[in-house]
Amino acid sequence: MLRFLTRRTVAAAVTLVIIAAVTFFLFFAMPSDPARLACGKVCPPETLAQARHNLGLDQPIFVQFLEWLAGVFVGRDYEGLGHCSAPCLGYSFVNRAPVFNTIIDRLPVTISLTIGSSVIYLIFGVGTGVIAALNQGKALDKIASVASLIGSSMQIYFVGTLAMYFLVFQWQLIERPRYVPFTENPLEWAYGLLLPWLVLAMISTANYTRMTRSTMVEQLSEDYVRTARAKGMSGRTVITRFALRGTLSPIATIFGVDLAVLIGGAIITETTFSLQGVGRLSIQSVVNSDLPMLMATVLLAAAAIVVFNIIVDALYAVIDPRVRLS
């Protein structure tokens, strides 16, 4: 396990550096000049040159990238802007603050969205999947399959907006989604995010229902399930101890993929519900041509994908002892 983790972590680090490099070099094709942004609207040429120098933009691209990369590990000083401490992902001229601070500020919103909705869709998805599998071919199974088909075909920006229109504005059943930090007031936190959670869960539940149902059906016809039943175990024990355990690894796979695209998916969710998370931050940085910020969000999103891939692969071995890590 340790060897596996080390090997994968090294590979992940290499991947991230490559992605950082590609992103960094591609950004120089962007129709925007960070120095001009830093300098403001009315910018005399001398000040512009000075800003460029302060940001290190007057150096070759390659040197700039290495400086940026070094900044991530040891921090760096920007002349006239101050120090940017250890994980320094750059300096945003739009916010006039180190990028890392803003991201740390916004990240809880995105994570809260993910945690809340995933708890709901995991419970409902796996639950309906098991019920559908046990009632194979009956009305309940058919209802579940139709519901999951419709659910998986929905788009957040349509269903989310409809939910806002009816539940918030027309019937006034719930307030407009907003973010209250969990540490401040857990109840407000859950209430403020309930609507996005439910909408996200409605769309994602379908995948889990489908996956759970088909794996469960397969599991129920496995030899070991039959053996357990022949030995006289109760139906409940057989299902929870044996059949359900077998369905865990495919569920872990899609759950890992869902968590991995956390930030990519958050873009649309946060735009739909006007929540100020990392997804929205990334869109705003595109609009504002805030390159350092954009670069940091891209990297963060890539890091999420890479890290969750490793976690899922490691989980396989934990869930299913037959899997050997290589």
Binding site: S153, V286, T297, A302
Partner: protein, 343 residues
């Protein structure tokens, strides 16, 4: 199957395979007709009622897309004219339709767009064109690229395979949505010289390029796996021993065995690209005004939904029906190709 039962009948794989296979021997045994896999697939597909129904709906969408100019001609309106601005009796002072339900009337079947006052029906009809064309082109290019790379990696093996595998790994680690949003301005900058108007063809091309760049890797990885296992099979070995050229092996031995996964992946990819294109336009980096586009209708719809929810409903429901129909069609195509697969 009921549960719990003392002796469970083998459900799942065997049961589905049996029911699907039992229809074939039921044919009169006297007439042994040799059927190609394609014919078998078609026979199985025709019996699948859901599949046929969803195929009809998908065909309907395609037909509407193809016949958009004709529909617009018969209907007497186009998606570009700002009827609401030309005729003061259609929109109120805030730019919202005067008539209830988004201004639906015998003249404007699906109502009119807030503030600009364009016709919603023709926008929707022409919007299918934009979405389908981009999605079809992206499906085609990703499939071709994925097939070529996948086969090359799987067939050549060794160092080439290793290198391609690494590239695929990195491509799949890219946060594609975010990346496309971030780099759309860059690509626009490269394709269009400053001061020049961005043409619809250009923005469509950019979208297709972006979707292709981030779309081919998963298919390539899948096909590489298939080729790796096929390569070791006897028939390929036999072909190689008899002196068949690599070209012949790839096109005559490997490719015919890959059609099923390729087609199945393509039916999965198309609705995905339709929704991706809509999402990108919704986020403001897809198709530009004035090209009619569903994603942009969503964008406008979410801006005005508190005052005019009707405008959002049409693209929303249309996209929902399209995606459902296409997903069902995809399931049926998969079943028809390989009755052993279950969902």
């Amino acid at each position: 199957m009921t549960f719990p039962s003392p002796a469970p009948s083998p459900a799942g794989t065997d049961a589905t395979a049996d029911t699907a296979g039992s229809a074939e021997p039921a044919q009169p045994a006297s007439a042994f007709v040799g059927r190609s896999p394609g014919q078998l697939m078609w026979r199985r597909f025709r019996r699948d009622r859901t599949g046929v129904a969803s195929a009809v709906i998908v065909l309907f969408f395609i037909l509407v897309a193809v016949a958009a100019p004709l529909i617009s001609l018969l209907y007497g309106k186009d998606p570009y004219t700002t009827y609401g601005l030309d005729d003061p009796g259609l929109l109120n002072e805030y730019g919202y339709p005067l008539l209830p339900n988004g201004g639906i009337s015998s003249e404007f079947w699906f109502g009119i767009e807030p503030s600009l006052g364009r016709d919603v029906f023709t926008q929707l009809v022409y919007g299918i064109r934009t979405s389908l064309l981009i999605a079809l082109a992206a499906t085609l290019t990703t499939t071709i690229l994925g097939v070529v790379v996948g086969i090359v990696a799987g067939y050549t093996g060794g160092r080439t395979d290793n290198l391609i595998g690494r590239v695929i790994d990195i491509m799949l680690s890219f946060p594609s949505t975010l990346f496309i949003i971030a780099f759309m301005p860059v690509v626009w900058n490269l394709l269009v010289s400053p001061g020049e108007e961005m043409s619809a063809l250009m923005s469509a091309t950019t979208l297709i390029i972006m979707l292709t760049v981030f779309g081919w890797a998963s298919l390539a990885r899948l096909l590489r796996g298939y080729v790796l296992s096929l390569r070791e099979r006897e028939f390929v070995e036999a072909a190689r021993v008899t002196g068949a050229s690599p070209t012949r092996i790839i096109f005559k031995e490997l490719l015919p065995n890959l059609w099923t996964p390729i087609l199945v992946q393509a039916t999965l990819a198309l609705p995905l690209y339709v929704t991706s294109e809509a999402a990108l336009s919704f986020l403001g980096v897809g198709m530009m005004e004035p090209t009619p586009d569903w994603g942009r209708m969503f964008l406008r719809g979410t801006e005005v939904y508190q005052d005019d929810i009707t405008y959002l409903m049409f693209p929303g429901v249309a996209l929902l029906i399209f995606v459902i129909a296409f997903n069902l069609l995809g399931d049926s195509v998969r079943d028809a190709f390989d009755p052993k697969i279950k969902h």
